[in-house]
């Protein structure tokens, strides 16, 4: 059973590696951010499987952190990292202008 | 060749890749990224090599060093990104100013 669970974890790692192709080719920035969510969910699954296969209960705590992480990164992206297209959104946000001389 | 040897070799490769990128890339943000990657390569060697000598038993001293190193790397990254933003604000581009010309970017 342990070898089977580790094999499924290996399959999920290869799955994530295939999904990272979308980061390389994604046309928009949001397409690239989707891959972070992919890694969050798959990472939770991999860690839970490894926790059961190796008998290490501490890995489930790491899985909890993985689950929160995609939210943190995506919220940071939406709040701070979004660059509007110049032609489609001509209105600049005056509250967030670049400060400094 | 065990798995821990594999991670040691991967850490050395990652360190070499990061060092190459620090030297080659001119963009300041890639320099910060590359310094981060270099540090993680060192962490990988530092954790995988002592775990190989005593299999099954984790050595707590390298783990404490790596844990401290992660926190320090985050703080240093924040500082470096702030400095890079100031360089961009001064010179108009996220590159180090050329020391040969003193037309712009002087203090």
């Amino acid at each position: 059973m342990s070898a089977f669970l580790t094999g499924v974890a290996l399959f999920l790692v290869l799955n994530v590696a295939a999904g990272l192709l979308r980061v390389v080719r994604g046309p928009t920035q949001a397409d690239r951010m989707v891959a972070a969510q992919l890694f969050g969910t798959s990472g939770v699954a991999i860690l839970v499987l490894l926790a059961e296969a190796g008998g290490e209960a501490a890995l489930r705590d790491t899985a909890l952190v993985f689950a929160i992480l995609a939210v943190v990164v995506s919220v940071a992206f939406v709040k701070r990292g979004w660059v509007r297209k110049l032609q489609s959104a001509p209105v600049e946000d005056p509250a967030e202008g670049g400060e400094g001389p | 060749m065990t798995s821990l040897d594999l991670y040691t070799v991967a850490g050395a490769l990652i360190f070499a890749l990061g060092l190459h990128a620090v030297l080659v890339r001119g963009h300041l943000f890639w320099k910060v990224l590359a310094i981060n990657v270099m540090g993680t390569g060192i962490f990988l060697v530092l954790l995988a090599a002592p775990a190989r000598s005593t299999p099954g038993v984790a050595d707590p001293v390298p783990q404490a060093m790596v844990l401290t190193g992660i926190v320090v790397a985050v703080a240093a990254t924040a500082l470096a990104l702030g400095v890079a933003l100031r360089v961009t604000a001064r010179t108009g581009a996220p590159f180090l100013p050329d020391p040969d010309d003193d037309r712009e970017g002087g203090g």
Partner: protein, 110 residues
């Protein structure tokens, strides 16, 4: 790849280690040599999460916890924040640099 007989988990674990190590090196090579800054940032976040998996395999789950929270989460948010500041700066400024394609061109070298 021959494993010592006392190595728990057998050959499947070593295959998993091989996949994680190859993915780490490939991610590092791609994120350090791409021309797109945003792609490099997202790949760095993915690199941090893969490194966390590597530390689980090395036998340090506490460091995997810290790496996932600090190395991937906080550092990724820092890079995203700086990316937006840089994009604002170059859009309102002289336009010397395109934030999507960071290098200035062939004359960027020394």
């Amino acid at each position: 790849m021959t494993l010592p007989p006392d190595f728990a988990g057998g050959w499947m674990v070593s295959l998993l280690d091989l996949a994680v190590a190859v993915l780490l090196v490939a991610l590092a090579a791609r994120l350090l040599h791409t021309r797109n800054l945003f792609e490099a940032i997202v790949l760095f976040i993915a690199y941090g999460l893969t490194l966390s998996l590597a530390w689980v395999q090395v036998g340090a789950p506490n460091i995997a916890l810290a790496e996932a929270a600090l190395g991937a989460g906080v550092t990724g948010a820092l890079f995203l924040n700086t990316f937006q500041r840089l994009a604002e700066r170059s859009r309102e400024g002289s336009g010397m640099v395109d934030p999507e394609h960071g290098d200035r061109g062939p004359e960027a070298g020394p």
